[in-house]
Symmetry: C2
Subunit: 413 residues, 2 copies
């Protein structure tokens, strides 16, 4: 039985704040600062360069990956940490398109996080310009033979998967609406069409049970600073289905992914398995903070977490609807079609979120009109949830948001 009062006690939460933004940046685990300080003074300070072996820094990306694996339904040894989510998307996507050389379409949707689309767009553009470079300039290349990034509406993804698709690049949970894709069904559909799948788990890992191996997902990537509470800029993870791991060839490769990094061979020979997705020197401070955060997950049942997340989000929706029946819900109404967030639309969403923050309820604004609230049972209670709904209703009904100080445009949100 998961005791969420115990997990809550493991976080250092500021007084007077109801935090509904753990889907953007998780809070500080109580043990993290001391853990990082100890790593710095005892390992870096005392061992110096010897820390790579003696403190296990070198194997930390795999060790931490093995702790992420059970949270995303992955096999041990199939996950490795490093870099940022965008870099890992780049590696997964470049490897996947290589594995389907006869196909030309990368399929994504308009609910995907823009950075994933940017990575795809610029990879396609670079490969396309690479093709121009390669062609005998006396012969025109057919313009439709290169790769194409095709973006459809989220509800059109399933129908758009056909045998032209090399790979689908989808974020399981929509960062604005919380809409949850059916990973198992879409993966099966992609495989039936001969396509590969890349799943971005930014809003899934630590938010709900993920079953990568069961779904047969080919690649997955995610970040650890949201529901996994690793801290600002915490490193990303990448998963490669063990069936593919020895075939995957990322366009971005570095020495830590070499079969023998310390042989200093001038030629890159990929390590076997997931190790080849390592690039440069791992971020030891950040991985150490993340290790402290992952301790909190020991003994937490993901099914119990999901149940509690639904209880909180349903209570929030009901409480908001009772007082603001006209406020449009931007999230699916059925909890099983949502991740662990609830979004509403309002033309003054930005100012309302600012006014709420001033009252101690931290949510998020997403352009153009989304108010986004994350539900994180590890540290969020039902009492807080209901109070947040009340404060939201107070702000909207009294037009408390309609003050100049709340209407300044966000520089960063």
């Amino acid at each position: 039985m998961t005791d969420f009062s115990q997990t809550r006690a493991a976080f250092d939460l500021p007084e007077g704040v109801i935090y509904l933004d753990g889907n953007s940046l998780g809070p500080l685990p109580r043990s993290a600062a001391e853990r990082v300080a100890r790593m710095m003074t005892q390992e870096w300070g005392r061992l110096l360069i010897r820390g790579w072996n003696e403190a296990g820094w070198y194997v930390q990306p795999r060790r931490v990956g093995d702790r992420i694996a059970p949270l995303i339904g992955a096999e041990p040894g199939s996950v490795v940490m490093g870099d940022t989510l965008s870099v890992k998307v780049f590696q997964a996507l470049s490897a996947a398109v290589e594995m389907r050389p006869e196909r030309r379409v990368i399929l994504s949707d308009s609910g995907n996080f823009p950075s994933d689309l940017y990575v795809a767009q610029e990879l396609v553009a670079a490969l396309d310009r690479g093709a121009d470079r390669g062609v005998d300039r006396g012969v025109d290349r057919e313009p439709d033979l290169g790769l194409e990034l095709r973006i459809v509406a989220p509800e059109e993804v399933e129908a758009a998967i056909d045998d032209s698709i090399a790979v689908t690049l989808l974020t399981e949970v929509d960062y604005r609406t919380g809409r949850l894709h059916d990973m198992a069904a879409l993966t099966a559909r992609a495989h039936a069409a001969g396509a590969l799948t890349i799943w971005d788990l930014a809003h899934s890992a630590g938010a709900l049970p993920v079953r990568l191996a069961e779904a047969g997902a080919d690649f997955a990537v995610g970040c650890t600073y949201k529901y996994l509470n690793g801290g600002p800029g915490a490193p990303a993870f990448i998963y490669v289905d063990p069936r593919h791991a020895d075939a995957a060839r990322p366009a971005l490769a570095g020495w830590m992914g070499h079969a023998a990094p310390f042989a200093f061979d001038p030629h890159w020979t990929p390590a076997s398995g997931i190790e080849r997705m390592r690039v440069g020197t791992p971020p030891v401070l950040a991985l150490t903070a993340l290790e402290a955060a992952l301790d909190i997950w020991e003994g937490v049942s993901l099914d119990a977490l999901r149940q509690e997340s639904i209880r909180l989000s349903e209570a929030f929706i009901a409480a908001v609807a009772a007082r603001l029946p006209g406020l449009p819900l931007a999230s699916p109404r059925e909890p099983e079609r949502r991740g662990s967030q609830v979004s509403f639309r309002h033309p003054d969403a930005y100012a309302i979120v600012q006014a709420l923050i001033a009252r101690g309820v931290i949510g998020d604004f997403r352009a153009p009109d989304i108010m986004r609230f994350g539900f994180t049972p590890l540290y969020l209670t039902l009492v807080e949830t209901e109070k947040a709904a009340d404060l939201l209703a107070d702000v909207v009904l009294t037009e408390a948001w309609n003050q100049p100080e709340y209407r300044i445009r966000a520089q960063v949100t």
Copy 2:
């Protein structure tokens, strides 16, 4: 006047250790652990998501870049932090080859760090396969029209620069021998031939005066965990000559490099200037440790540092030569042709380095036969340098290294 006893006092150095491996991992600055703990508890813990604006995390990659800039002779606003050195090499190289579409050769040398070569090799391979994908399969592509990575000996680089070269990819200081390339001369030669230059400053930044702007270098990249003492896995930096910054188009692009990251536009529009080289969420913990390390550089004259580095390395060479006249120096004998390290060759280099470490002198082994010693005036004294030379001679002359415990093959060195 730079007072190196004061900079030495700013480091937490373990008792009984003479550290000649600051060119692999710099030691712990005394203020770093407390600085990171304060960032974690006061900023992350109290501000949560608001830290991105209120604690300046969002602008940290540029703020820290502006502190690196004077150490490498770069203009303010021309350097940004993030990712790892290999990722930054990838960005610089992909942008550079785009800027020379009519040329096909990337020129590097066998003294370059292997990871740079791996990045180049796999980028070339990916673009080449992209070209195969793009070509009408009825027409064979000329195999010699794609990009080529050409690797010559370091002393042959200058002669190899001709008008086939798109870009040179060179590490200024050889990681094994310490041989220093003439950045100004090679950059001038490259420009005369119409080529661009990428300088890897891994063993230069903080080791000697670097004059990027004066040399007219086009791109530069470097890491911060060696002579800059940022800690294990500290983030990399990238420099783009302001003349090119708005033209450079890296194949790897993310939302933090977008002109308007928080508009969540589905299309990537590069930010102006160096900002476009940002990719994902910046590593705030690591950047905070690095900021503490950079404080130590305030008031340090790079010319005084260079002078002291030469004094230490010359004393080391002289002391070793006096007792081990037959030991081959792997580094250039003239100090102005070296970086801030001295290397010797010995068939039992690995075992000798292990035996030295057991005696408190930490140096580095680099395959197959290099013993490498870094000289870091910020915290290394002449007395330590001479003692280290003596201990090296003792170990070699008494064959103290010839014990089974020192002969085990390195797993990680």
